[in-house]
Amino acid sequence: MTMKISEDKFKERVQKGIDNSFMRGAVAGAQERMGTRRQDATDELGNWEEWRALGEEIRQHVLENLDFYLEQLSENVASRGGHVFFAQTAEQANEYIQAVVKQKNAKKVVKSKSMVTEEISLNSALQNAGCEVIETDLGEYILQVDDHDPPSHIVVPALHKNKEQIRNVFAEKLGYQKTSKPEELALHARQKLREEFLSADVGITGCNFAVAETGSFSLVTNEGNADLVTALPKTQITVMGMERLVPTFEEMEVLVSLLTRSSVGQKLTSYITVLTGPREELESDGPEEFHLVIVDNGRSSILGGEFQSVLQCIRCAACINVCPVYRQVGGHSYGSIYSGPIGAVLSPLLGGYDEFKELPYATTLCGACTEVCPVKIPLHQLLHKHRQVIVEEEGKAPFAEKIAMAAFGMGASSPALYKLGTKFVPSAMSPFTEGDTITKGPGPLKLWTDSRNFPAPNKERFRDWFKNREKGGAK
């Protein structure tokens, strides 16, 4: 499956993340900066909750009427002279794009940042078709130069690298000889990328929101690279997840505002580009040929089910930026190109439980993600729903846990059994108890006491104290 970024087991990935103290420092710092900026940008509106409600309503409306809007979008793209291809699978999307590239006899493709093309592994498909692929978003470019290091964040893909590491990558791979000053590094990348833009045959972009009414699509960026990807090459291919559209510009405006404020704490990003079809007469730039590839890749099977709300996502990463688990382990630990809370919900749906069954457990269900989501996806509830599906439908829970939970369910549902069972807890635990604390617990408790003390059970249960007190009448 193409979303997968590692062959390591979950616990090994997590341990690598935990041991990477530089990455953790970078993530914690970024979470604090982005968290503060997000808060300021949303407070500034004065009625953020109304904005969220509107965002949710728009996204739900689109999902409920997805067939209608997809058809409207396709018709309007076609009437402007664009080509539309609906890909049910990643393979179909890649085959179509390979065919276009071959037909154009293209040798070089420039790309702007796109998660859906990561999801379908488009880059390796293009390389197999004999094409050179250049990522032009600075973060993606750094990762590509560094032997295709996978992204660790859906908005800030190279979050896990610092400027020294980037300098070393540039020095080793590009012959860069200057300092680690961000301006110098960026300038170097910029000079390299200018040459690529000018010599590319095909430009490939993702899509933040397509507008059904006009057949347009929008790109929200801060670097301006997407403008060059769409302006210079003669052929342009835009790849979008099938749910990423809005009815009209009016709804797009709302969602762009929710996106930029939630994502990077900006009122607007430096560039918000809206493009409609290929270059027309009298237009001075833009592609001669335009292809829109709409990707399903598992999305239609989420529609109509109990996880439908995850398709409301506008990929802002606000949930990742507040997640206390992501904070400790970083993006690569998730083993998927989609990390953090949204990744933990989405990856098992698109990539299957076999690959990603641990992810719904990598959460304390603290609800921080749900609280910030600008389109009100109940993320922590969906994570919980995954757990329910895993144990009740997939039957994938560990045997020992099943037994423990069955015993718990029995004990907790019978007051008599509960009372009897809990009465013997202190004596059962006494071999492990020193004073009023347990430092080396048995069974699963050991996992707790490996790092923390556990309180010894009280000799007198609270319920016994209460009963005795009532009997004695002492108040």
């Binding site: 206390p324 269900l365 603290c366 919980h384 895993i390 369910g409 019978s414 923390r452 003390n453 609270f462």
Partner: protein, 238 residues
């Protein structure tokens, strides 16, 4: 006013002092407290692990135990929230959904009950120490109780309050998460303990025994001189 105490299993077995302080405090504020013997656990450990259907019997027992109470009060934001969650779990069930709704309407976390129902913000407590406060996730985000503990602590004589940096960060408990994802949980609680130590407070106060058990257990393991106390015990100090 008659209050039916939902003590929670953690308090019943491990934190009896929290239960005692809750009873004494509520009585001092003029409430008559009862403790139904048939109460068990709210079911959160297995429910949150995904065993929704296997937990329903326990939830039904709890609903029946508390359904006729005037007010249900719990010294735990997370467990009180679980009572509010029942109505969603039984959604569409003609018998249990209405019952669960009725239960949710009268269930309060302790500080929420004192401030919102009893309309008391000064309980006449005295506690001479510097304290910081951990805002538990379920209590603040899911139950929506943010201000009540602060209002009550502000009026405690002798108490010096110092804000906990990164207070909105989860402590890493998360029920079975603490053992299932022990390696991640340890990192989370370590950061929490580091922040608590930064405040220089003598006491860490909280309104959820489970979070306190987690943070306190790590503080103890590190041998740090910070004591952990439930807000009921602080409010019951004179």
């Amino acid at each position: 006013m008659k209050v039916t105490l939902f003590a929670t299993c953690i308090v019943d077995l491990f934190q009896g002092n929290v239960g005692k302080a809750t009873v004494e405090l509520l009585e001092r504020l003029g409430c008559e407290v009862e403790f139904p013997e048939s109460q068990v656990c709210c079911g959160q450990p297995s429910y949150n692990s995904g065993y929704v259907n296997k937990t329903k019997d326990a939830m039904k027992k709890m609903i029946d135990t508390f359904i006729d109470a005037e007010y249900v009060v719990s010294p735990s934001g997370s467990c009180a929230y679980m009572f509010h969650e029942y109505q969603h779990i039984f959604k569409g069930d003609p018998i249990w959904e209405p019952k669960a709704k009725k239960l949710a309407e009268k269930t309060y976390e302790l500080t929420q009950f004192i401030v919102d129902v009893l309309k008391i913000e000064d309980v006449g407590a005295r506690f001479d120490a510097t304290v910081t406060y951990h805002t538990s996730c379920h209590m603040t985000r899911l139950l929506g109780v943010k201000e009540a503990p602060m209002k009550l602590l502000k009026n405690v004589q002798g108490l010096k309050f110092t804000e906990l940096p990164g207070k909105e960060q989860c402590c890493g408990f998360g029920g079975t998460f603490a053992v299932k994802m022990a390696q991640i949980s340890e990192q989370m609680v370590d950061e929490k303990v580091m922040h608590v130590a930064e405040t220089g407070a003598e006491y860490l106060i909280g309104a959820d025994a489970a979070c306190l058990m987690n943070i306190g257990g790590r503080i103890e393991r590190h041998g740090k001189p910070i004591k952990v106390m439930h807000i009921a015990e602080v409010l019951n100090s004179r």
